[in-house]
Amino acid sequence: MSRRLIGLPELEDLAIGAAVLGTGGGGDPYVGKLWAQGRIHARGPVELIDADDLADDDLVIAAAMMGAPSVIVEKIPNGAELVAAFQAVEQACEARAAAVMCIEAGGINSTIPFALAADLGLPVVDADGMGRAFPEVQMVSFAAYGLPATPMAIADEHGNVTLLRTTSAEWAERLGRALVVAEGGASVLAQYPLRGLDFKRTAIRGTLSLALEIGAGLRGAGRQGNVAIESLTHRLRGAVIFHGKVVQVQRETAGGFVRGAVVIEGLDTRADSRCEVTFQNENLVAIADGSILASVPDLITLLEEESAHPVTTERLRFGMRVYVLALPCAPLWREEIGLAKAGPRCFGLDVEYVPFEQRLAAR
């Protein structure tokens, strides 16, 4: 049994760690952090429990925002809508939840569940459905194992609550996205109501404490950025796959996503080489001198050289000095059922997935 209290300073760490796991996208955790800090300030710290602390019959429900992070930074939620969405799913399940879960440990959705948990006096489970950030409802471990995303409730600040029962997670994505647009581009939702037994079997474990640890390591980095990055890659069994200076950034919107690429020119020992990282909200593939270094679902994160802080795709600009980190994804994503939901082909890439460690070893 492992319990830990999440208070105001822990949320600072979480926000940074979640941006690392956000792999360039996932939305800035800042607004979610302030929201959660406000609720924790009012209601007290939130308990972070281990998945094994859940009984097999316990109900656990994910809380998240859906839509454009650039909208949520402007149209900040009311706060009550997340409670309404969560309770609508509880009602549909005819049961009270024992805990709140994060659907994704990366980006803004890592922090938002703590606001809800503080309001409801519930714990948050130290596990999520991605171990990183992905853009769509079905790119979740639970869906990979065939568990339903619905009943799912989407709620807005006006008090509108819509309950969806869909035939697949893909339909939940499609219908949910349409609702979110109608509600002004960003809403909150509760989804994937799961029994403790199913959750323990399918969740990606320990990801929030991992984000907390990453954040604590980088937050105190100061000018010792390279030291912090070294210990981070060691701890996560990742690798610095490139170090250089951004020389080109391209971005375009297509189908509601920001797609683009950043070209990084090597420094030091890699002075003659160039690395290109393509992204669709999140970073997808890193290629250097014609060969792939790493690809989704492995995590590709850019860290600013000086501060060691993660860089989101919208912050990328010419001249920025960055480390390109590859971190291993959760083992599930390397299996067939995982690759079917979130492999390179799910992002329209004609790339065979090979774990980045194997790619590095072969070089």
Partner: protein, 517 residues
């Protein structure tokens, strides 16, 4: 023919220039900035106006750091009444959520969350709660607090903010300080709210600063028309500066860059402003400072003020050079304005960056001094360290690897090499030392629009055109000559995670003053 005065108040010096209607500099002065500020202005004005000019002086333009200092030092700030237009949205994160305690205590007044605001398409989130606005305005008037009005997506549709401001003026009087967030910051509600609160808090500081400048100028040369330079390198009239003092934050670097552009004739390039303690590097795009794209922290508060994108390096003419345990260090400390007493070349005992450059014979000062004798090895090493600092700064700022012109301004720019970072050729125009005051004197007036639009609903070109026209109309409304107003900045930024392909359009127009030429 007529003359204009440009004044720039920096941390160390107050510079003034007199320019004629052809924008030629006819007199210049550099005087120390005084603690009361205004006596320094008087001294600088007296210097440029002696002997008395033959042509009339018709306008004065001032750039000042007083607002920045007030925020950083928490001095002279007012408590603010905040009016959020967004209920039921935004309640999850109240105002002042992430402020340093001392600044919050200095500024936090009254908070009202009322119905209103828009979504990203510009549709109403809720009708404006006019009665609540009126009640909050009456409270603010009673407490005599400046009012900060912040509406959700007001950058897309400022209608509710404008209506709320009207109601506030009815309740609290037309002279009451009312700040609308759509005039202060860009998209990002909390950052824009913070910016608007700081703007409102600064109105008293601004009133004092503008009044004392106005009276100093008036008594020095009879001029009644005063303008203040904004941080985008353009001008605003006195009453506007009093309402939106935050637009003066970081106007100093903007003035230097505008001055550098004017003096060198280079409209797209890199400006390197070398002072006594620091070097500021910024980028010129069509003759205007490139804007910082991200959140700006000021006094410990996250804001999205429009600010010039400037990197400030700990290297200037007075930066101290040492050898410690065999290792050569350059700064970050500096003798600053005491360089001319404490530097080796001036007979003092401190080895400075200036001494290093002079001893290597890489530059000469305008006023010749004996070449300081430094151990060659030390000088070479220190020079390399300093150059590395400069070149890293250049690398961070330059937009691409293409060749670029670097414009050296500021008193210390004589120390710059002829070439930086491989292909940045450095030019140093005449009057480089007072480029900031010149930048103030030649400034234009501007208008800007920042909007998220959905692609596909209408022809994109028609939307672009509308946004451009609106920016030009704003510039003209602010005092630009309409025939000469033009678009000087245009950006299209895609918005993530929204189907329907939304894009954010930003336009800025500028033109020379319609009067005063």
């Amino acid at each position: 023919m007529s003359l204009r005065i440009g004044v720039d108040i920096g941390g160390t010096n107050t510079d003034a220039v007199l320019v004629n209607s052809a924008d030629r500099v006819v007199a210049r002065a550099k005087t120390p900035t005084t603690p009361d500020v205004v006596s320094g202005i008087r001294a600088a004005l007296a210097e440029v106006l002696t002997p008395a000019p033959l042509e009339p002086v018709v306008a004065a333009m001032l750039g000042t750091t007083q607002c920045t200092n007030a925020v950083v030092e928490r001095r002279g700030l007012r408590s603010v009444a905040i009016m959020r237009l967004g209920a039921p949205a935004t309640a999850a994160v109240p105002p002042f959520a992430d402020w340093p305690d001392d600044l919050r205590q200095a500024v936090s007044g009254h908070v009202a969350l009322v119905h209103g605001g828009h979504d990203f398409t510009g549709q109403e989130l809720a009708p404006l709660g006019e009665d609540d606005v009126r009640r909050a305005a009456a409270t603010a008037a009673e407490l005599s607090m400046p009012i900060a009005i912040v509406g959700v997506f007001s950058a897309v549709n400022p209608e509710h903010e404008r209506r709320a401001a009207e109601i506030c003026a009815e309740e609290a009087g037309v002279d009451h300080s009312i700040s609308m967030s759509s005039m202060v910051g860009s998209i990002g509600f909390l950052e824009r709210e913070n910016a608007t609160i700081l703007n409102a808090a600064l109105t008293e500081v601004a009133r004092l600063a503008t009044t004392s400048f106005e009276s100093a100028v008036h008594s020095a040369c009879g001029v009644k028309t005063c303008y203040f330079t904004q941080n985008d390198g353009t001008l605003m009239a006195l009453d506007y500066a009093r309402r939106y003092p935050s637009l003066m934050l970081a106007s100093g670097p903007a003035n230097s860059m505008r001055g550098g552009a004017y003096l060198s004739g280079v409209m797209n390039g890199l400006v390197v402003d070398v002072g006594g303690t620091t070097t500021d590097i910024g980028i010129l795009v069509n003759g205007f400072p490139r804007e910082a794209p991200f959140v700006i922290e000021i006094g410990g508060v996250r804001t999205n003020f429009r600010m010039p994108d400037v990197v400030s390096l700990p290297l200037g003419g007075g930066t101290v050079v040492r050898r410690e345990a065999g290792k050569v260090t350059v700064g970050p400390d500096s003798v600053g304005y005491r360089l001319t007493q404490e530097g080796l070349a001036f007979g003092g005992g401190q080895t400075t960056f200036t001494d290093v450059v002079l001893s290597l014979g890489r530059a000469d000062l305008d006023v010749p001094v004996p070449r300081p004798s430094l151990e060659h090895n030390l000088a070479e090493k220190a020079y390399r360290v300093a150059l590395e600092v400069l070149e890293r700064g250049v690398q961070r700022m330059r937009p691409s690897a293409d060749p670029l012109t670097g414009i050296g301004v500021g008193g210390g720019s004589v120390l710059l090499p002829e070439c930086l970072d491989g292909n940045v050729e450095v030019v140093r125009p005449d009057d480089y030392a007072v480029a900031n005051a010149i930048g103030a004197a030649i400034s234009e007036v501007s208008g800007s629009v920042d909007r998220i639009v959905a692609i596909g609903a209408r022809a994109m070109e028609a939307i672009r055109d509308e946004v451009r026209q609106e920016a030009i109309a704003q510039a003209v409304a602010a005092g630009a000559r309409s025939a000469a107003a033009r678009i000087v900045l245009w950006e299209e930024i895609p918005i993530a995670y929204l189907p329907g392909n939304a894009v954010r359009l930003r336009a800025k127009a500028a033109g020379p003053l319609a009067h005063a030429r």
